[in-house]
Amino acid sequence: MSFPLLTLTAGLPALGAIATAAVPAARRGAAKWLALVVSLATLVLAAIAFVRFDPGGARYQLTESHAWIADFGVRYELGVDGIAVALIGLTALLVPFVIAAGWHDADPLEEKNPNRRWRPTQGFFALILLVEAMVIISFEATDVFLFYIFFEAMLIPMYFLIGGFGDRAHEHGEEEAARQRSYAAVKFLLYNLAGGLIMLAAVIGLYAVTADQLGQGTFSLQEILQARAAGELDMSTTAERALFLGFFFAFAVKAPLFPLHTWLPNAMGEATAPVAVLITAVVDKVGTFAMLRFCLQLFPEASKWATPAILVLALISIVYGALLAVGQRDIKRLIAYASISHFGFIILGIFAMTSQGQGGATLYMVNHGISTAALMLVAGFLISRRGSRLIASYGGVQKVAPVLAGTFLIGGLATLSLPGLAPFVSEFLVLVGTFSRYPAVGIIATTGIVLAALYVLVLYQRTMTGPVKAEVQGMPDLKVRELAVVAPLIALLIVLGVYPKPLTDVVNPAVQQTLSDVHKTDPKPALEASK
């Protein structure tokens, strides 16, 4: 038994959450610093994991395995492949920024509070750390049940983050804002819970199938794969499809995929910008990640069977999300719909079943996380200055706050996948990967590129350019803390856009493994094939 690095990576933020929550009410500042330090320490651990991961080595590395609930065939099994280690890195990377960006988001508005135990600030940061812990362990889990538990459990802290710490910008008064917020939180929870419960049925079904065929039910990914390879496990077509649909439904809600997406704009609109980042850049990635790890590996045949339908839905997501983004009047909702469009690309890449598609999708997860974080956090800074989320409330910001406008533009350009910035690499890979197997699908997906330009630039034009609006006059430019949040993200976008190799090197072997799980190989170029 080696050093439990993975447990520690997930455990540290969890412990940090408890510690943060325990900070006395008066020591609000200490709680913030504690949370930040913990998240940075987690980043260090994630970085160690990233470095220690050997792309040429075994499929799952840094593994840990302990008995847990033998009765359900559940083990505490952790292990990371290249995809997981990249996403853990993303999570650990973004959380410190989320914390720093949300530094003042949970400061109590007035000090007169009836209860001394009421510690919203501590709660806010503790919940963020808790989400981080749960997301990380979901990426690490190689036991379906273990994954499921945290996949579901992370809803609860997210729910409180959305419903309890809303955006303070509201046009229609406190009460309406509270109503909207709690609507968004409930919608978030119910959608995801419904998805999760349907998945629960599938998880139970999987248990029943393995128990039936292997004698003892198991949730261990590796055991199931081995049993399948050895021919001991042979699911009936119907069973496999039903189970696949159960799993996929949950992930499609989380991702989110059209038509299960409508919770996202509400949640991202009502949550504070850092929490919105947490939702779309971190938590939602668990959904797409799980499609790669669980749907494809556990149910390869059913995955192929469902591919046409999923591709169509992904295409709809891409175009529909982008069109709706164009039609939004609220900055954060616009970004949310843009994310829906991007998740369409990710899912497209996954189910194109080519190494470019899946490798691109994995990179896309990372890059989308960073780019959305940059855009959304700057949007949050903007909104916090004016107290309105409506695009129409702004105009001419670049004149008074050029740095803010500049960073916003770069975030936007990343969102529209400008070459040279990280998202381009992944988007192009997804498109190529899709195109090489399904040319028509790839071509339709490219409309997303044009529409992305439209919604990003329209947003930029309406908010940042033109004559300076009276309400915008005197708006301060980015502060040091804010710049410190945004600048590294932008730097990262550029670095990963120019030199994504460290990431692709880690991801590629895992993608090849996944492809071989579904018995797919990349299509050969026409010239080579004809020879």
């Binding site: 409508t262 709706l324 190494s355 044009v450 034009q461 033109g466 026409a526």
Partner: protein, 632 residues
Amino acid sequence: MDYLIGWLVLLPLLGAGVLLTGGRRLDRTGHWIGTVLAGSSFVVAAVLFFDMLGRSGEDRALHSTAFTWISVGSFKADVAFQLDQLSMTFALLITGVGTLIHIYSIGYMEHDERRRRFFGYLNLFLAAMLLLVLADNYLLLYVGWEGVGLASYLLIGFWQHKPSAATAAKKAFIVNRVGDVGLSIAIMLMFTTFGTFTFGPVLGAVDGAGEGVLTGIGLMLLLAACGKSAQVPLQSWLGDAMEGPTPVSALIHAATMVTAGVYLITRSGAIFDAAPTAQVAVVTVGAVTLLFGAIVGCAKDDIKKALAGSTMSQIGYMVMAAGLGPIGYVFAIMHLVTHGFFKAGLFLGAGSVMHGMNDEVDMRKYGALRKYMPVTFVTFGLGYLAIIGFPGLSGFFSKDKIIEAAFAKGGTEGWILGGAALLGAGITAFYMTRVMLMTFFGEKRWEPDAEGHEPHPHESPKSMTIPMVVLAFGSVFAGFLFSWNEAFVKWLEPVTSFEEAHPPMGAAAVTGATMVVMLLGVGLAWAMYGRRPVPSVAPRASWLTRAARRDLLQDDFNHVALVLPGEYLTRGLVYVDHKGVDGVVNGTAAAVGGLSGRMRRLQNGYVRSYAVSMLAGTAVLVAATLLMRGVA
């Protein structure tokens, strides 16, 4: 030597980085940093050029691989450069004209508080444009391709506080994106066909690929070229792009970026040669655009928009030439270079005029400026002569060759293309003469502006006039130099392939016809604008003129065909998302709630009714149990 290629790109990129992140402390020196870096890039280009001259034709190309960029499965893209004669031509043009325009901008932008940023953007543009022409594969080219689009966006919208500028910038980017989609699809097609998208392997393997695929790739490349080079049907952004500062118009929207489409088609010549259908499409686009742009140019009163129409038209020539295949590639590039000189000169001249006229752009408010701005007048005049193809000046050499090549295409096609090219030459002469006459001749027509400031036309400072003079030299002598001993043909031939064009009626006849048509155009313009005074308000005119003033209704068409349906679609989808997709879920929730409310009423509080339900339940239970066995 090859390691220097990267520096070509890096130097201006460094400038952009420094200037854009440097902050206010660089405000005083920023423009010098930018200019020096652009200049040093030109020096590097020159060094490489002379190095290249030192080698013989086939060995001139240099390759340099910096690092592996993307590698997933068999998809491998390197950051790698290829410097051959074609790239070299562009590199010199870009850095040369670019440096001149940097210098010009020092004066032109002197009073703009965001001058540092302007130079940053210019440097960014240079870097992207150099990347575009130096890339050794289509994907890296695509990076430069979108990079210049970004720079163009930033520079068109440089005066962001003007809503028209912001809108124009956005429009340019989005229309270009449509073209970019073409390029990306072309790359994907190359990847699935050839397994690579590096120039060498792709162009070398064209023979093995089916014509259908090649036609597809060709058409997609053409789409890309249409976007970037403002060819019909993606031409609508160029006129609006004149919202940008004039140096930008000169550099990006006249001399360099808009010609990227021509570069792309020429670079991919092997593909087009093997895909005749795509070639037909290319020449059609070129011919239509050259007339389209020329007609628009005739009707515009805004000096920059008139020049923009002209640019569109001239690029139409180039595209058409490139579509003609080996008989045209060289002349497409040659016209591109000469056009780079004289059109940049013309734009700088226009900028100089505006500089002296309180940024007035309406030519109807000019007149008689030759007395006030002699240097501008002379340089502009030389550029004018060059563009209308006055014998001996550079435009004469390049344009004439294209017209010849068009006729040489042969058959009906040749006559149509040649005719269009000839007609275009006449119209060019007409509208350029019109510009010349309205601006520099006749009576002065300027008036005090809204705030009562009377313009005081004056010559521009040295920093502006010197680049104009340099470019004027280029406009005059470049064509002659290139044609001397067929120097340009020999220079490019190893890269683009070349065939002698033989127009059916003989080259001399074509040249003669061109001369005649040109003179007709000049004469007509003199008759309309030279002999009688120009009204300072545009008179009512024929429907064609009115349409031409509205850019031949291109925006109206786009509005009706794309924007309005798009808006309705978007609004409709927002409604659908809210009422439909969300509605289903909310409806389900409401249904459960309603069901709950109804079922709740069964719980009426009366113990006897509870007993009834228990009894009924028991009855059902008993009956069901019996039924299961079939006993009952």
